[in-house]
Assembly symmetry: C2
Homo-oligomer: 443 residues x 2
């Protein structure tokens, strides 16, 4: 297979490593061996000599693949449905009723469309949560495996329906989590995903924690997204969501909390103590009127944070560069302090930081022994990326996912000059429009 | 000349008119006659028959050209300089010292690069303010005229330097404002632009008002951008900036105020009373740590608002779709109410509303008797614009300037399938990099 067991040298490019020292190798070199980066640094004629294959990147900018720490790719067909609505009514009157009509075909085509968009805009690793209702999760996983993306795919657990239905949901989640713990050459894994404290009973949350612990899996859950949720949980259980989950033992296993918009100091201290990570979804939080997470305080408390898009039904795209830029801009604006959340911090969270937050520290930076997951940008003919001298700034503040040229995962070329090699783009786009027409007809 | 005195029918496209009723003509038709829209509506075989020329738009989405109500295109070469800095130190230690080294060559190449980016991302009309120090404003205007863009170009007035220098600055501004009041087939005009209440003495502001009144020109000024500015003006003059300017008579002439981040109810009432318009720069305000303007209250007060990018040194690009989306998202997030600032409102401000705010109501919507300024998007092969059924939502929430395909101004094709026909892209990009290298060497 292309890229395996061969020594490939990538040269004639500027490498933005996103390593701890934020090193940049202008006109540097990277060697990839058996899917792994074996060298990253200055150009070396000797190393070039030893390579089986040399790729001339034509002066492009190279950075690690972006890491989207919270998404729902199976909802991609719902893009643009129910704009300008609040989370609760949006979920209850739009999203869930339509999801109830989902078929396996809709789910797999949605996944392909979403991943197509992710890959083309430079995301190489994602952590996704899907609603398994009425769909064939095995088929979805098969399709996701074929796209070449890396990530964790989590089967949502809800306390909806009869007791029997709830049991079946938990059994399904446990089986799925085990079956796909390592899938698609190890690129894909699973997490255990109780949907949220407001859609899961305490019993369900305890059971979710058990599944995570017994199978050594991370937990992925929506928490503290809105003021309404916090007061709702307080009304039901007498404590705020973070304390509620802590008491139920959910945080005994490494947990990724999506959102964390409504948190106080005490809760941040708990998150730090239990090493709970936060997937920050700035655009979705704005769009649904949930608010703006205090990411500066999260980072100051020492909590691991990643950037995320959420689904395109509340975003409405999967552009991680745009998302990361929005994250940086928001903190500056809310703090009225332009020095907060520097470009370095932002790009760190979109790459290595995000990878670490979702337990995938084998990717997210261009460093020796890491997976060869990287993307390229060709800036020379792009007005909005001039002058070239300020490349680092442009990566965050001026670029977007549309500027991504090539995408490599495990050293394998997945997107070449803007075209995805693993997904039939034309077919997926045609299918999604055909299926959407049916879906809205039934509605 | 192409498009003049000919009847051109545009068909096979979905027309998003952005008129008062937000009409959309799916597979509609538009007739352009002598630079003006003479028909927009459903497909008509009879009208098609009468046309001298028929353009098949291949199913594209068509919308009015976007209107950027506040920019500084001559600063485009400074993109990426001084990120993560507060406005005051950013201006005083970065921007102004580098601008002091500007030459006419730098200014004109910067303008070309900036307008190239604007045009390619769908902006057809802009209102710009430039620092005339050391540059040949006539040469800049000549170059801007050649790009084909529509807009107002304003010569900044500052109370800097000796009395003689200040007089020369005012004389220069007055001469420029008069000379170019109608330029480049009437596409370009001028405004009178005292930079801000904190860089202009009361005498200079009074003189600026006189020039505006005597020449029947609008005023363009930065106001109430930061908390610091408001307390600074209060310390100097005993009143906040809006009252300060009102007393000096600046608002006696229609005025566009850039920013308006720090305003109270009393000030909004004054703005409404004097029909002062606000150019809202959400990204620049975030990036410089200035804060988030309360646009919902501005609109509720009945104040005209447009969307703007500011310069790319504090943005860092000219993408008006991205900017407009950010404007909408911010109000939802700050109000914690997703129903605020709908997609309709946002797109209105980016088009017709913005045009009205800067006194250019002859553009900004696809309506009979308006200028034929329009842009197209080809969505069919773009993953992030699927499903196609939700086009209106995608225009704001999923698209970006990169999706713009063709751009027409005065019925003339300016950007064709992503390539600008009026600017030598390759040359401008090469020049800007050469000049930037010199500029930073001297620094």
């Amino acid at each position: 297979m292309w890229g395996d067991f061969m020594k490939t040298a990538y040269q004639h490019a500027d490498f933005f490593t996103m390593n701890r020292d934020n090193q940049i190798f202008v006109n540097g070199m990277m060697i990839v061996e058996d899917q792994i980066i074996s060298y990253i640094g200055p150009y070396s004629a000797d190393l070039l000599e030893e390579a089986d294959q040399v790729v001339d990147l034509g002066g492009k900018w190279v950075l690690p693949g972006l890491v989207n720490t919270h998404s729902h790719v199976l909802m991609t067909i719902l893009r643009g449905i129910g704009d300008d609505m609040l989370l609760k009514s949006w979920l209850e009157t739009k999203i869930w009723p339509i999801e109830a009509k989902f078929t396996s075909e809709i789910a797999t085509v949605s996944a392909q469309l979403g991943i197509l968009e992710m890959l083309k805009s430079g995301t190489t690793t994602f952590s996704d949560m899907f609603n398994p209702n009425g769909i064939d999760a095995d088929a979805a996983m098969e399709v996701i495996g074929e796209t070449g993306i890396r990530g964790a795919f989590s089967y949502s657990i809800f306390s909806f329906g009869t007791e029997k239905e709830q049991k079946a949901n938990l059994l399904g989640a446990e089986k799925f989590s085990k079956t796909y713990k390592s899938f698609a050459d190890g690129r894909l894994t699973t997490m255990v995903a109780p949907h949220s404290p407001y859609t899961c009973t305490p019993e369900t949350l305890v059971e979710s924690a058990r599944i995570a612990i017994e199978n050594a899996l991370m937990v992925h859950i929506h928490v503290s997204e809105t003021d309404f949720e916090v007061s709702d949980i307080k009304n039901r259980y007498g404590v705020r969501p973070v304390e509620h989950l802590r008491r139920l033992g959910l945080f005994d296993q490494p947990t990724v909390m999506a959102h964390g918009v409504v948190l106080n100091d005490e809760e941040r201290a708990i998150l730090k103590q239990y090493d709970v990570r936060v997937a920050h979804n700035p655009i979705s939080n704005l769009k649904l009127g949930s608010g703006i997470a205090d990411v500066v305080s999260l980072l100051d408390t020492g909590i691991k944070v990643g950037i995320a898009t959420d689904s395109v039904a509340s975003n409405n795209n999967f552009d991680m560069i745009k998302e990361t830029r929005t994250a940086a801009l928001l903190q500056k604006g809310v703090y009225k302090d332009a020095t907060k959340f520097s470009a370095q911090t932002a790009l760190h969270l979109a790459t290595r930081g995000g990878a670490e937050a979702i337990g995938m520290s084998h990717t997210g930076s261009l460093e020796t022994a890491k997976k060869a997951d990287f993307i390229t940008i060709y800036p020379f003919d792009k007005a909005h990326l001039q002058p070239l001298s300020e490349a680092y700034s442009h990566l965050l503040y001026a670029a977007s996912g549309h500027d991504v040229c090539d995408v490599y995962i495990d050293g394998k070329l997945i997107v070449k000059d803007g075209s995805c090699l693993t997904i039939d783009e034309e077919k997926v786009i045609a299918e999604v429009n055909r299926l959407q027409a049916n879906l809205s007809r039934v509605d």
